[in-house]
């Protein structure tokens, strides 16, 4: 039994088998930091397969669940060696009036499988709800998706409310969705625009390191 086999279980979305094996490996003395590194490589591979559609949404979702299962098992061991690194906390949703949710769901998955903690607010979400949820979570990022020109102003409203509440600098606001653009992000003062889900983890990470 090895880390490669653990990878395989995660890739195949076998949560229970993956958890059992992770437990065993850790008890046998495998370094949890090595294990997390292996898991990161696995998820990068799974993400890559998904971006080429060699696997589909349900499969990457199962792999993500298996990964969460393994992380749960690893938690006490990781703490011993100094804790696990969460890349960032984000609340994400589709803005008010907009029912297009598939893009947001993919972004959520990609972020989760890349080590972000994500709170999904769903779709048709009021601007104020984004903020309240971000406060409750202690989020680093607010992610707002808009698929229609008619709902893009709701992204701007999130930023306006943050300003009005005097808490604009506490959150990085990230926007996306087909009709949005870098130009729109600049215009409304968003911190980041992502054209797709694939680029999101790296761009978000860069933002926190600035």
């Amino acid at each position: 039994m090895s880390l490669e086999e653990l990878s395989k279980f995660v890739e195949d979305g076998e949560t229970e088998d993956a958890q059992a094996l992770a437990e065993k490996l850790l008890k046998d003395g495998v370094n949890p930091l090595e294990m997390i590194a292996e898991m990161t490589r696995t998820m990068a591979r799974v993400g890559d397969l998904f971006s080429k559609l060699e696997i589909f949404l349900p499969e990457i979702m199962l792999a993500g669940e298996a990964l969460s299962g393994v992380v749960e098992v690893m938690a006490p061991y990781l703490e011993e060696v100094g804790g696990q690194e969460v890349k960032g906390k984000i609340v994400i949703g589709v803005v008010k009036g907009d029912l297009h949710e598939i893009g947001k769901n993919i972004v959520k998955l990609i972020l989760e499988t890349n080590g972000f903690e994500v709170k999904d607010l769903g779709y048709n979400v009021d601007p104020l709800t984004f903020i309240k949820e971000a406060e409750a979570m202690g989020a680093d990022f607010i992610g707002a998706s808009s698929l229609m020109t008619t709902t893009m102003p709701r992204q701007k409203e999130i930023i306006e409310i943050l300003n009005a509440k005097g808490i604009r600098d506490q959150y990085k606001v990230v926007i996306g969705g087909a009709p949005t653009s870098q130009m729109w992000a600049d215009q409304i003062g968003a911190d980041l625009y992502c054209k797709d889900a694939k680029s999101a983890p790296e761009l978000l990470t860069n933002l926190t390191q600035r």
Partner: protein, 460 residues
């Protein structure tokens, strides 16, 4: 006869049906059921044949789709409950559905009839850019589509602004934009001398309120026209959507169900996309009382359906529906490339020929991944409809279409990911006259000749 008489019982179930957490619905209920059915019915994608000839598999896909709808139900995201139906209700609805309807009004009315596989009757042709446009081009674009000879129905472009004001979702500007949309479209039809043309309207309406605001026999969407109600991907609805189907039925216009099963998403691959598409036709019929179903299955990454994995789904779903029901369904093309590119003309031609020979009616064409303002024109829709008419009149077989589509695919398939975005409407159309520029027309003519050389006999 639509199934509107069952509306109240169906609606009641969205309050009383079994509860389910929305987070569980797709991963734990929809996808596992779909996967099981694909296995049970031995449904297999064949990349070699974008337009397969497989009656037995078509029937198995039909069966799988039926069971998918019956076993999964339809999820109301507002009540968090499943609307479930029985075999008997599905059978009843299929029995009651007419296989033909007169749509449009007066001299412009057209009889829209169910088609068979390899049917020699041409498809019913709905032309639509499927995108938003600048306010100043809206009237011209409506005109330009209405100038198309093969157009049986029109769905006009979507407005982003109304009198210079950005249309904001569910606000007064949405209502105003919706009224402006239908006014432009009806005026264009009147000026062109085809005032009774069948319309599917209005795409500018994002909410039930926007649709309700344009229901008017004199100046608005008439009873001889149709409206769409969308399904949320996959198998989900909401009260704002159910409001529409009820209103359409009570107002008395035709209802169409708008669905796009996503390849790569919860449906998985081509097999699941085909099964889900067929199931959506049953959902449209039974839940929404839809007279026709408007399907646009598309590729998660490309936002198109002109590559082989999607063509296969379209071809098989069409065959399943044609062989097993009397329903009306339109195949909505989504292309990678933009206007005035040879690639777009080829993509539309392939989408239209595969759809036509497998029993679909046509709805062309969402160009440029359905993403960019002003980037769709009637000329690509024209080539699609001309191909559809030719394929039917000529009596081409699925195998013949399969061969021709493979030749055309070879010319564009490797560019799907980075297709050219082409031109905007005003760069390849004379806006004042609503006709294509010479350069644009010449390109269309060139590709049409190329396709004719492959064995398509255009009627004119």
């Amino acid at each position: 006869m639509t199934t509107a008489y069952r509306h109240w019982e169906i609606l009641e179930r969205s309050q009383t049906g079994p509860f389910m957490d929305e987070d569980d619905f797709l991963p734990k209920h929809f996808t596992p059921t779909l996967k099981k059915l694909i296995k049970k019915y031995d449904i297999k994608y064949d990349p070699e044949n974008p337009c397969p000839t497989d009656d037995a598999m078509a029937d198995r896909i039909w069966q799988a789709a039926w069971e998918l709808f019956r076993d999964v139900g339809y999820y109301n995201t507002d009540s968090h409950r499943l609307i479930q139906v029985t075999d008997e209700e599905i059978r009843e609805a299929l029995y009651m559905a007419h296989d033909q309807y007169w749509v449009g009004a007066g001299k412009d009315a057209v009889l829209w009839k169910h088609r068979q596989i390899e049917d020699m009757d041409p498809p019913f042709c709905i032309m639509s850019p499927d995108i938003t446009c600048d306010e100043q081009y809206h009237q011209s674009i409506c005109m330009a589509y209405l100038k198309e000879p093969l157009l049986d129905g029109i769905c006009g472009p979507i407005l982003e602004k109304t009198f210079g004001h950005l249309i904001e979702s569910s606000g007064p500007s949405e209502i105003s934009g919706c009224i402006q949309h239908i006014t432009n479209q009806k005026l264009a039809a009147r000026l062109l001398g085809r005032p009774g043309t069948f319309m599917v309207a209005v795409g500018t309406a994002e909410h039930d309120s926007g649709q309700i605001a344009v229901s008017d026999q004199e100046w608005g969407v008439q009873k001889s026209d149709a409206r769409l109600v969308g399904s949320l991907t996959e198998f989900k609805t909401a009260d704002t959507l159910l409001n529409r189907s009820l209103h359409y039925a009570q107002y008395g216009c035709f209802t169409g169900n708008l669905t796009g099963a996503i390849y790569g998403g919860w449906c998985g691959g081509s097999e699941g996309t085909a099964v889900t598409t067929v199931a959506y036709s049953l959902i449209g019929l039974v839940i929404h009382g839809a007279v026709f179903n408007q399907h646009f299955p598309f590729h998660l990454n490309y936002g198109s359906n002109t590559t082989r994995e999607l063509l296969w789904s379209i071809a098989m779903a069409g065959q399943a529906l044609a062989r097993n029901s009397r329903l009306l369904h339109t195949s909505n093309g989504f292309a990678n490339a933009g206007p005035m590119t040879e690639m777009l003309f080829r993509e539309t031609a392939v989408h239209a020929m595969v759809s036509t020979v497998t029993g679909w009616h046509l709805w062309e064409m969402a160009s440029t991944r359905n993403k960019y303002k002003n980037r769709a024109t009637p000329l690509e829709a024209r080539i699609g409809m001309e191909v559809g008419h030719a394929v039917a009149r000529q009596g081409l077989s699925r195998a013949e279409v399969n061969d021709i589509s493979k030749k055309l695919l070879a010319k564009y398939e490797d560019q799907a990911a980075d297709a050219p975005i082409g031109c905007e409407y005003h760069e390849c159309y004379d806006v004042a006259k609503a006709v294509p520029t010479q350069e644009h027309y010449d390109m269309y003519r060139r590709v049409k000749d190329e396709i004719a050389d492959m064995g398509i006999e255009f009627p004119f």
